[in-house]
Symmetry: C2
Subunit: 393 residues, 2 copies
DNA sequence: TTCTATTTGTCCACTGCCTTGACAAATTAA
DNA sequence: TTAATTTGTCAAGGCAGTGGACAAATAGAA
């Protein structure tokens, strides 16, 4: 394990300079070379050289001129957004959503198809087809796509990328989906848990912007949490960080045989919520959707069911608060993003913890994972294209 | 915010090279210049230059010669451990422990004094005296001490370093202890929560070596947890990460007025444990120490008290596991490190969570925070002396 | 003991990257 | 039209790193 690679002469200094220029342009929008020099502290000469190289390689492009100030007009440069493309795919139990975006993360095209129920290798075929559709819709060549991020349910092993538990989707636990996707598309692929991606999405462009510590809690058919701590995603030892299904809340965790499903998920998942509604007097066979309709009409059974779910969720947030101390909890998922539920949680939380966490509803609804995947893909693309690699550091 | 500082000509390349050399020497022990060159990938010439500079500045020193291999003998170099010193201070409610260590983190001298009950500014006087004692004991000059780390109970604001809640120690919530210490000693000071330091200590030289995700749980008068996640300390938004006192476990978190003390701490702290023992039939007025003596003799009340504490702690570990997914939980503190208790926790944990975490007892006992402080101090010293600063990166 | 293979470490020439200062070019304000 | 100001290029110089040549030093073999 060599610490510095240093194949050629002294590429490191130029790489650092290039990286500084790119980051400055990325952060400061259209900017002149003179301003880049002031901002980075590098000399005008160096900046001119670097910008020239970047322009001939197609990464930067001149976009305009300054005016209004005294002195010679300056040519302003911007990142050539179309120089690199990335794809985000959100694999769900019923549908596959996908988007293609440019170097700045602007989404150019988006599509959605039903998930192939046969699962397994057939999904890879679907991904291929979806990617083809996207490049066609966007009118771009596949060669410029440099990164694909796939969000899936389930626990992913951080080391191998192996998907451990994915109840909704058939036959993906035994195949190396990341490798298959990489091979099929010929570009680097990343797999990440969908709730983790939702958290990344909120960090990128949602409520989590500039928040270094927050959690995204998804309540729906199942329960999950994505954690951003110290400004980066927390995966845990086996990739199971945020698997709040197993929180010892909402039932007796020592109940033999019961805890394997997850004490918390057994208490607040959609099945439990519907059953609770029925138990409180709701219509036999009612779904969670029915419950919220009834809630709207002021149905007492529905209100009681929501209240109880909110109470348990508040306890879970209290537990998360005592462990992670997030500045913010973002609620998502088909149930978790319901304003009625969140309002109730906001009422319960200060009653069970002295330092209640701020709670927001996800900004992106069911597109959060897709957005987050794009954020990750763009970040990795930047790293791959412009990143400075000191070996380890 | 300039991205590269670049005061002089091109200091960055030489800094990177120097850093690579130092890290290689640090990791590979006594090593020749030729081997450093092979290891880093840099040329022999560069290594010779860098080593010469480092030697004249006193950071490296030749320690021997190679032999046994064919070819010319090589001079091997080692880090000059005494070139830089660091101090770790552990501020406790009853005593102040402190140690001085060298560039490699070897502890040279250690001391302990009772905490000045007047607290506040008097503590700074004590710190000063303790530091003087240490340098005298170690026979070193204060000028070579480059970093001091202070561990304290309480929640520290990550941004300001302000100590929020420190029940055991008088008058330190209103003063800027870090600034006072820095000014008094004339060297950079860092303040960190003592349980966090204990976790860092285990990571540095204890059970947490090479474990990227683990938690150190301290049970004693109070309860606390230090978290290492993704290989680094997790502080949370307000520095309150790991404040498991507030876990909604071991009582009714909605009990009005009760939760301010912390539901979990109220259930497993030493006061609660002694009261539980008495409640189960133990001697009126018995302490936790008495409890464990009785436990040793097979006293049923004591056994029941330990069992209940273990059961609740297992639940807390289950909650932490569902949130952080640590590979390991290390138990510490006067109660938490008791083997009897840990044995019971190990029995309970698999009964309340499907993926029980491995549990170990702290390797350093009540010196864990002191050791951890030394680890942090040494790491910061290395960073300050040899670190490569790309501005942000 | 002598020779050979091998390894260490230095010397030297060369290249790449960055900086500084000078200066031409272009624009606003007076 | 002129002065002030800013942009961007040119040219010279320095630092850092590389690679090849080579002297020095040693183990092992003849």
């Amino acid at each position: 394990m060599a610490i510095t690679s240093s194949v050629a002469q002294t590429p490191i200094a130029r790489k650092i300079s290039t990286n500084a220029v790119i980051r400055t342009v990325l952060a400061q929008g259209p900017i002149s070379r003179a301003d880049i020099a002031k901002f980075t502290g590098l000399s005008k000469q160096t900046i001119s050289d670097v910008v020239r190289d970047l322009e001939t390689d197609g990464w930067l492009k001149p976009v305009g001129k300054t005016d209004g100030r005294p002195g010679r007009t300056a040519i302003t440069y911007e990142l050539n957004a179309s120089a690199g493309l990335a794809i985000s795919i959100d694999l769900g139990g019923t549908k596959i959503a996908a988007a293609i975006g440019d170097l700045l993360g602007n989404i150019i095209a988006e599509t959605k198809v039903p998930t192939d129920a046969r699962g397994g290798i057939h999904l890879v075929d679907q991904f291929q087809a979806v990617v083809n559709d996207l490049t066609e819709m966007a009118g771009v060549e596949m060669a410029k796509v440099r990164m694909v991020v796939l969000g899936t349910p389930g626990v992913l092993d951080p080391a191998t990328g192996h998907i451990h538990v994915a109840p909704n989707i058939a036959g993906i636990e035994d195949i190396d989906l990341r490798q298959l996707l990489t091979d099929r598309l010929g570009i680097p692929a990343i797999i990440e848990n969908d709730v983790n991606l939702a958290a990344e999405g909120e960090r990128w462009k949602g409520h989590g912007v500039d928040v270094g510590n927050f959690a995204f809690i998804a309540l729906g058919t199942g329960t999950g949490m994505g954690i951003i701590a110290n400004g980066s995603l927390l995966r845990g030892g086996r990739g199971a960080a945020g698997e709040i299904s197993y929180l010892p809340i909402g039932g007796d965790p020592f109940d033999p045989g019961g805890f394997h499903l997850g004490t918390f998920e057994s208490a607040v998942g959609s099945v439990a919520m519907a059953r609770r509604y029925v138990g409180f007097g709701g219509q036999e066979g009612a779904s969670v959707a029915d419950l919220f309709v009834a809630f709207e009409k002021g149905d007492h059974s529905a209100i009681a069911a929501v209240e109880e779910t909110a109470r348990l969720t508040a306890l879970a947030i209290a537990a998360v608060g005592a462990t992670l101390d997030p500045q913010l909890v973002i609620m998502g998922g088909s149930i978790g993003a319901r304003p009625e539920l969140v309002a109730a949680i906001r009422r319960y939380l200060p009653r069970c913890t002295p330092y209640p966490t701020r709670i927001e509803i996800s900004r992106f609804g069911n597109r959060a994972a897709l957005i987050g995947g794009m954020g990750i893909a763009v970040a990795h693309m930047h790293e791959e294209l412009f990143g400075v690699d000191l070996g380890e550091a």
